[in-house]
């Protein structure tokens, strides 16, 4: 009986962990799309007024900025998830 309760609790906690993870993924992917498809391509005309080294900000995002943001996103995700693992006690032994 006690075993059942703890199993049910763990399932509930795992569901909370998964929900938190999906939330972090969704936010990260919005930023991922914004810097590449957004600033790099579709929104480039809107930010073309901002000059960067002989060209405009959109060009910088397309050839450099997006890659730097991608890097930051992956490291942020790794750091945040490892913390989340501990918060929910689901980290590896």
């Amino acid at each position: 009986m006690a075993d059942h309760t703890s199993q049910a609790e763990q399932a509930k906690s795992d569901a909370g962990y998964w929900k938190a993870n999906v939330r972090i993924i969704v936010i990260s992917l919005i930023i991922w799309a914004l810097v590449s498809f957004g600033f790099g391509i579709l929104l480039r005309p809107m930010i073309s007024g901002i000059a960067v080294g002989g060209t405009d900000l959109g060009f910088w995002f397309a050839q450099q900025g997006s890659i730097i943001v991608f890097l930051a996103l992956i490291f942020f995700y790794a750091w945040r998830m490892n913390k989340l693992d501990r918060e929910y006690g689901v980290e590896e032994e």
């Binding site: 790099g40 002989g54 050839q63």
Partner: protein
């Protein structure tokens, strides 16, 4: 010492290093052969992944791709790096948790369907085999260019080296040679780039130099490049000329395709823990970014450099003379590269000048005629690969740098070839032989069959490299299209949704077929010339070119899978439990120990 001897020394030394690693890192078990014993440090794995991923095309072709098109080809930069975000967030940690050896094994287990596994194996084999042909021809070409041996001899030497470390070392041998190959290729790429950046912009970091000022004119480098190419009738470098929808879809296809390529995904099975898989994807992108942030700088700078050499007095001054090309040491590299056929010029009107401009642009032709330089472009051949290959000579760097570039090009081609061959051989021995034909096979038997499969894969790839089918150049697009339309959606749905077996199989098959048909409609059936009904200039659907279709194929795969799954039996309890367990890191060590 002459250049040939130096090149030979550099390539010989790098090969000796790879063989040395092969002897040291022999695989003793299937776990070592398929996943390097799951003991690879995340930074080491990141470096190996970078070498695995960056092919001869990235090393030699990428800068040229950007240089001759400018902004429009930023798609490659964003696409081939953005895929790592998808890999890190959506696939790598969960597949590591699952703790098996191949991508198709996950698909087969998760969708409790041998059919799903076979469909995944087929997609994997087609994608990897088509991709490996390009790598093998790349090895031959690199040998031919730097060591003056025939392409055939070069390819055979390369195949023997890969054989030595891949057959005996499996994933373990491949991992550590890839680390060495990464070091060789990144030095070979960045050293000439630093020098050219110093010469042109005074900044030792090429990525910063790209947005810096051009020393000779005092103008920003990109503004200078924009104006000179525009004066010669080419598209302005930094402006957008291509179709926006196609650009978005092409970038997305490259991203999804990258995340779905089995030889990249399987690298993440080699790290000890789920947390390591997350970090490792970040490290992989760090090492990849070192090259991908340098490539656009090399491209822009080399294009400006060569254009300046052709117009030493600016686009409105006098063009370079034949006499100058023959006598001035600054132009020596032109004679060297003319011999390879990558560069060509011809004084068509016999005025003693070589005039370089876009003669497809009527306004520029009129302008050049008025200036008395004739109506024809006289730089008749200007291959995009030359930007990286000839860079050390154009920048007048010492001959050891040229030797290093030779070793770097070979490292890039060999490391990617080995990764692909590993994906192919483990699919054959683990999914087909152990998974379907003879499940009772012993560990020793499976290890032997993995080695035999690897040897056969090398032989087949070598044969295809020697006799490339006519469509070799198109095949990379095919590999990305298939990975994007079939493998990526299946993996993602396996982790994030409760889609059932029937949904996954119909989704994969539909995505695969629709994408194949769309590519064949534009490139010809089985790439046979003149059997195409459409061209990429005037595609079937709006402005969507066949190379951009992978993303559409992926969306179709998702939609079909969800619909079919909704109207068929839901997944059984044990699969539900499998999905739940893949989602949490807890117990990843236990999953690995099962083997």
């Amino acid at each position: 010492m002459d250049q040939f001897t130096i090149n030979l020394l550099f390539v010989g030394a790098s090969f000796a290093l790879y063989i040395g690693i092969a002897i040291w890192a022999r695989a003793g078990s299937t776990s070592e052969f398929y996943a390097a014993g799951r003991g690879v440090h995340p930074v080491t794995n990141g470096m190996a992944t970078a070498a695995d991923w960056m092919s001869a095309a990235s090393f030699i072709g990428m800068a040229g791709l950007i240089a001759f098109t400018g902004y429009d080809n930023s798609t490659f930069l964003m696409g081939w790096t953005g895929g790592y975000v998808l890999l890190a967030l959506l696939l790598a940690p969960y597949l590591r948790k699952f703790g098996k050896y191949t991508v198709s094994e996950f698909i087969g287990d998760r969708f409790y369907s041998p059919t799903a596994r076979v469909v995944a194996v087929i997609a994997l084999l087609v994608a990897s085999l088509t991709y490996v042909i390009g790598q093998m021809t790349g090895v031959g070409v690199a040998f031919g260019r730097f060591l003056e041996v025939s392409n055939t001899t070069g390819l055979l030497i390369g195949a023997c080296v890969v054989f030595a470390y891949a057959v005996f070392g499996g994933m373990k041998g491949v991992t550590y040679t890839q680390v060495a190959q990464y070091v060789v290729l990144i030095m070979a790429y960045t050293i000439p780039a630093v020098f050219i950046s110093l010469q042109l912009t005074g900044n030792p970091i090429p990525a910063l130099g790209l947005f810096g000022d051009h020393v000779a004119s005092g103008e920003p480098l990109l503004a200078k490049l924009d104006s000179i190419v525009a004066e010669l009738g080419f598209n302005e470098y930094t402006t957008h000329h291509s179709d926006t929808l196609n650009m978005v879809l092409f970038t997305l296809s490259l991203m999804i395709g990258t995340a779905g390529l089995p030889h990249v995904i399987m690298r993440f099975f080699t790290v000890p823990r789920v947390a390591d898989a997350r970090w490792s994807a970040g490290w992989a992108l760090v090492f990849i970014a070192l090259l991908y942030l340098t490539a656009p700088a090399v491209g822009a700078m080399a294009r400006l450099n060569i254009t300046d050499l052709m117009w030493p007095n600016g686009a409105t001054g006098e063009p370079v003379s034949v006499e100058m090309i023959e006598a001035n040491p600054e132009y020596d590299w032109m004679a060297t590269w003319q011999k390879t056929g990558l560069l060509g010029w011809e004084d068509k009107n016999g005025d003693g000048k070589i005039v370089y401009f876009n003669d497809a642009d009527a306004d520029t032709v009129a302008k050049m005629e008025a200036a008395g330089w004739g109506d024809a472009n006289e730089l008749t051949k200007f291959d995009r690969d030359i930007l990286v290959l000839a860079n050390p000579e154009i920048a007048n760097l010492p001959s050891w740098v040229i030797g290093l570039v030779a070793a770097g090009g070979l490292a890039a081609a060999l490391s990617t070839a080995a990764g692909l061959l590993l994906a192919i051989s483990s699919a054959v021995s683990h999914d087909l032989i152990k998974g379907s034909i003879n499940p009772a096979i012993s560990e020793k038997g499976e290890l032997l069959s993995a080695r035999v499969a690897m040897a056969v894969a090398i032989a087949v790839a070598t044969y295809l490299g020697l006799n490339p089918p006519g469509f070799a150049a198109q095949t990379v697009a095919l590999a990305f299209g298939l990975a994007a339309a079939s493998i990526f959606p299946a993996l993602m749905m396996g982790i994030f949704t409760k889609v059932n077996n029937k949904g996954a199989v119909t989704g994969m098959v539909t995505g695969l077929l629709v994408t194949l048909v769309y590519i064949f409609l534009h490139k010809g059936w089985l790439f046979i010339p003149d059997t195409n009904s459409f061209t990429d200039a005037d595609p079937l659907l709006g402005t969507i070119q066949s190379t951009s279709f992978g993303a559409v194929g992926a969306i179709i795969n998702f939609c079909v899978a969800f619909t079919v799954s909704k109207f068929t039996t839901p997944i059984p309890t044990e699969i539900e439990e499998l999905v739940e367990s893949v989602r949490v890191p807890r117990g990843a060590g236990a999953a690995a120990a099962d083997h």
